[in-house]
Symmetry: C4
Amino acid sequence: MGKGRLEAFSDGVIAIIITIMVLELKVPHESNLEALRPLVPIFLSYVLSFIYVGIYWNNHHHLLQAVRNVNGPILWANLHWLFWLSLFPFASGWMGENHFAALPVSLYGGILFGAAIAYYILTRALIAHHGKDSTLAAAIGRDFKGKLSLAFYALAIILSFVNPLVAFAIYVLVAMMWLIPDRRIERTLAP
Amino acid sequence: MGKGRLEAFSDGVIAIIITIMVLELKVPHESNLEALRPLVPIFLSYVLSFIYVGIYWNNHHHLLQAVRNVNGPILWANLHWLFWLSLFPFASGWMGENHFAALPVSLYGGILFGAAIAYYILTRALIAHHGKDSTLAAAIGRDFKGKLSLAFYALAIILSFVNPLVAFAIYVLVAMMWLIPDRRIERTLAP
Amino acid sequence: MGKGRLEAFSDGVIAIIITIMVLELKVPHESNLEALRPLVPIFLSYVLSFIYVGIYWNNHHHLLQAVRNVNGPILWANLHWLFWLSLFPFASGWMGENHFAALPVSLYGGILFGAAIAYYILTRALIAHHGKDSTLAAAIGRDFKGKLSLAFYALAIILSFVNPLVAFAIYVLVAMMWLIPDRRIERTLAP
Amino acid sequence: MGKGRLEAFSDGVIAIIITIMVLELKVPHESNLEALRPLVPIFLSYVLSFIYVGIYWNNHHHLLQAVRNVNGPILWANLHWLFWLSLFPFASGWMGENHFAALPVSLYGGILFGAAIAYYILTRALIAHHGKDSTLAAAIGRDFKGKLSLAFYALAIILSFVNPLVAFAIYVLVAMMWLIPDRRIERTLAP
């Protein structure tokens, strides 16, 4: 089975998720700076979520480069991962709306954690289909960055009840870590 | 007429349906667990609907694999099927919002029934175009699972007025039945 | 310039328009039949608009079959047409929300009229680029059905102030006329 | 890395942005002309924003024609540009909702400015990857129109506090300037 439609469908879902998150920025009825102030945390939350969804799209794009074809379990692993991404607008909106209160910040970490696990399952399904000696398996490697992220998310979920801003800072830190271009797959694929 | 644009358009519509359903999870203004509680049935309803739309995307993907080209009636049969899918966000939201009350659970079954009939019509339009001896017709076969689903939906529509939770359990059961990978078409297409 | 991205972008916009129209069907807070009753005109309006957008997608699909490549004016003629389509959710929602009152029914006709003019301009831009002796020009022909539709829309816009239901019936009639498969282009392209 | 998915994803995001902007036109509960009057500035704002997003889609389409392949920094430069575009629905809605008051008109200019800078960065990332002697670099050239637009936006941001309508007129003027077909890249690519 070709990978074309999997890519097209994922692109569609991710494009919609990234765009409807902005709808949480409700248009104020007044036109002064005061009216914008309550939107600041929602905007910050939006920026962070945009970056996370952007990182995922980027990584998915890189990952699928090395994929030759897909099967049923891969389609479902991909849908499962998209399900977690689809919860970003809610988690992001709730975190912003409540000015980074403990529980919403913690839930945001839970969604990040779930999405990361789902992405890990997707890579396993791909490796199971392509073989442990495939270019794909070599390109994914031990996935140190992925495992480190999971540890950070778990830490932040707990810390959010101590100090939500520290938890938020951890989310920003992990995003920065991923923004550094991931050359693993590009390197392995290069001649 | 090529099938590319039919696939692309269907992917677009399904991607949007699956994503706007999450908008029913309205962001609460408070940040405690109490604020999340009324969202639980809406979330469960969302999960079920996500799985159903995912199953349809998957089956449509498999189905179109065996399609060589399309004609006018097929385009319309496909649009008719997408119409029923487009009612999922409403039916799902109404069922969750009203904590699985009788009428919304029944209507949800009605939408599932309509979508299943529309999908059946689509397969007939495809077989009419490709011939009864085509790979496609062989791959679709007698479609026992599709017919069984229709019977279950009809049963659930009636039972929802006796006990809506039993009807909901039937919807979950049918979804589970479809989640078991459908190897019919893959098997027939394999060399 | 290839036509691939024009098709992909149009498919995306049309898929979104057709899907967000359903958001006008607001989920009621109660779970009885009374709660569904005010939604009936909105639903009817949605069905008609779904069919019209479906007809346009279908016709656009057929039209682009015969197109070889595109230029700047064609891109803009296409965007202009998509602009009119983007007003469907508003016009459709207003008509349904107000139970087919005179002004909304008239405005709906105005949007249909504008979209039809925009589609006509698009076909002219395509013919100007491909030449009057092209397969495309032959396939479009005199476009009798398109001109007849314009006349009907104009009639309905006026009649909606006399009896909006007559105007609505005319919209249904024109849609039926287009649902009859349009074999013009298919016939001309066939060997 | 191929450019196909970058184009598809950008098309998806732009299609959604251009379509959700229309949701700011909230359906009125009454059916007379009075009910439409408050929507006039929102509609004008929508038309202008539709044209700007259309111009960007057009320019992006032309730009990508000359692109051979992409790398990580290009993907991120593109996402950064899409981020600015995603703020259009908010800025456009706020400007319309407040009848072109000073601050919203100024913010709208700020979003236009940010999007233009982001587009400039994208062209630089593309040139850095393709080389200064590439067809792409030649096609982009000195980008006089892009720099002039930036100056106009900056002027309008300031002038909006003196007279917002003058600032709005500048936005319309710049849009007109871009609507004149941009033949630079088409000319350079032609044999």
